[in-house]
């Protein structure tokens, strides 16, 4: 297992950067912990092992013995993240925070897809500021969008959609989500090049005229933008019946932003690509371990356990961080509730099993 120095990530406040309304890993705690020279929420978080020099980052993800039900879902997620292809209409059964979800089984493949987005790709929830964000560090969630905060002074909204461009952010110094400078559209799929010239998180400067908020890649916002059944797979809620058929533009563009490398310009020599690789067994040499969580009392459906550190030595303003192993656990892991009523999906065995090609299994 690879190791890096320990620290925490997030930051990229000073310089305009581009993605749409996603966030990078661990942003919420970084706001509270960031030293004055590290504007934590605005960091770009790179995958495990990135030190500013690589052009190809390879990450091995293994399934721990006894957790073989994760094999198919992990392989499916690896394929989707490696393809890095986005569509609209990617989600069926997506439920927003303010909606009552149906009862039923939770999709294990899509929960795995989400957790790999955290631990392997360095992403956080695009709806962070809308639902579960402690912007002022008082330990209480600060709801910043309509519906949950309806009736408070926090937001004004005319259409009842949480996270759209109309929303008022009550803490103007806490820009944490990225957006397309051109149109603040988090779900559109087009050919725009993703880098610091086309994406920003500086809402006061770079939002289109009349916009107040970096629009969130949730189903409601996508709907009023003309894209039904579209939502980021990194949305913080997952409900029984929710299925993601592909990635959405938001997470793809966030990853592409990271892939622009140190200079944050696309098409330059420091750009990198990411290759996730499946390992059928864990030997201790893998980067990320996938397991069913038999350790904790009452575990949540899914977890990503990782930390962050500076990617390399930087100046006063730290922009680049990388996923690292928690220094005490000494591993990066994604974990899932073994007692959850799961919908295991149809991909029990995935990719190569039927035709005998086990090459991507590392066997």
């Amino acid at each position: 297992m690879k190791r890096l120095n320990l620290c925490i990530l997030f930051i990229v406040a000073c310089l305009p950067s581009s993605t749409n309304a996603g966030t990078f890993f661990s942003v919420e705690r970084q706001i509270a912990n960031a030293p004055s020279n590290e504007e934590a929420p605005f960091a770009i978080v790179h995958p495990l092992g990135y030190d500013g020099t690589q052009v190809l980052i390879k990450l091995d993800i293994c399934v721990e013995s006894g957790s073989e039900v994760l094999v198919g879902p992990v392989q499916r997620a690896i394929q989707m993240w490696n393809q890095l292809s986005s569509t609209t209409g990617n989600c069926s059964g997506c439920v927003l925070w303010e909606e009552n979800p149906p009862t039923g089984l939770l999709s294990l493949p899509d929960t795995v897809l989400h957790e790999i987005g955290h631990c392997a790709m360095g992403l956080d929830h695009p709806n962070l500021a809308e639902s579960e964000f402690d912007v002022d560090g008082d330990g209480q969630i600060s709801h910043t969008s309509f519906t949950v905060s309806a009736g408070t002074a926090l937001v004004t909204d005319s259409n009842g959609v949480r996270g759209d461009a109309e929303d008022q952010h009550p803490f103007s110094s806490q820009d944490i989500a990225w957006f397309r400078i051109r149109d603040n559209n988090p779900v559109i799929v087009d050919s725009i090049m993703i880098d610091k010239d086309t994406y920003s998180r500086a809402t006061a400067v770079d939002l289109p005229s009349g916009h107040n908020y970096a629009a969130s890649a949730n189903r409601g916002v996508a709907g009023i933008l003309g894209f039904s059944n579209t939502q980021s797979v990194m949305y913080s809620g997952i409900a029984p019946g929710t299925q993601y058929h592909s990635l959405a533009a938001d997470e793809v563009n966030m990853v592409r932003m990271g892939m622009t490398g140190v200079d944050r310009d696309a098409g330059t020599s420091d750009d990198y690509t990411i290759e996730l690789r499946f390992k059928a067994t864990c030997t201790g040499q893998e980067d990320i371990i996938a397991r069913m969580n038999t350790i904790d009392e009452n575990p949540p459906p899914g977890l990503c356990l990782a930390d962050i550190a500076h990617s390399f030595q930087q100046g006063l303003i730290v922009l680049h961080w990388s996923i690292i192993a928690d220094s005490l656990l000494q591993e990066v892991s994604i974990e899932f509730d073994p007692n959850k009523g799961w919908d295991f999906g149809s991909d029990i065995f995935f990719s190569g099993f039927e035709n005998g090609d086990f090459s991507e299994w590392g066997m």
Partner: protein
């Protein structure tokens, strides 16, 4: 002397922490025989405590903590709720002074409903003692994070992404630490996914307490499931 169970008492009651003799006495003490008993007990214990249970705790750091809690059925003496994580339909648990524990499971879950359990006084005292013994009546989130973050370079806190927050609250009528009366004590601690914190900091007593409380509440929830009263 007849030993009364908690369920049989409608009024506040008094306990003295005598290992060999525990007698519940009505606080109004109207009947003559109760007055006589009270005098006897007072002479034996050297005190006549107020209308709540008193328990003395001597923990590993040799700090003695005494506390009482209300037996008023309208007073919430301990609560545990949750928020956040991938699923937003968390249960809540509230314990009241009469031993009633109200468990609410949101209707978005298959086991949804409102459930009531009744704790004996001994069970209540055990839960409260456990919480107090693990500093949950005194510590703040910042206190706990300070202990854990010391184990990490840069004094940062670990984080379990997609874990849920646990919100613990306790209400004590009186709280005495090492003989110093600290008055009523209300304390709330919000910790992010204590089970993970227990992995990285198993020696932090507050985290032990939060996870232990959670385990006890889960056990209570699953007990007597055939006797649910929605």
């Amino acid at each position: 002397m007849k030993r009364l169970t908690h369920r049989m008492l409608a009024k506040d009651y008094v306990f003295t922490p005598l290992p060999s003799l525990q007698i519940q006495i009505r606080s109004n003490c109207r009947p003559l025989q109760w007055i006589a008993v009270t005098v006897i007990i007072a002479l034996l214990s050297g005190s006549c405590v107020g209308a709540n249970d008193a328990s003395s705790i001597r923990n590993s750091s040799s700090v003695v903590r005494d506390f009482t809690f209300s037996s008023d059925p309208s007073v919430e003496i301990l609560s545990v709720t949750f928020r956040g994580g991938l699923l937003h339909n968390h249960p809540s648990y509230r314990i009241y002074g009469d031993g009633r524990i109200e468990i609410f499971i949101p209707d978005t879950r298959q086991d949804s409903g409102s459930y009531t359990r009744t704790l004996t006084f001994e069970e209540m005292r055990e839960v409260m003692r456990f919480a107090v013994d693990h500093h949950l009546a005194e510590s703040s989130r910042e206190d706990v994070e300070g202990k854990i973050s010391m184990k990490y370079a840069g004094n940062t806190m670990p984080h379990a992404t997609d874990g849920y927050d646990m919100i613990f609250s306790i209400h004590l009528t009186t709280f005495v630490r090492d003989g110093v009366e600290l008055g009523p004590k209300d304390n709330t601690i919000i910790m992010h996914y204590p089970s993970f914190l227990l992995r990285v900091s198993p020696d932090t007593e507050e985290i032990q307490g939060l996870v232990g409380i959670q385990r006890r509440l889960l056990d209570l929830r699953h007990m007597e499931e055939n006797e649910d009263i929605p």
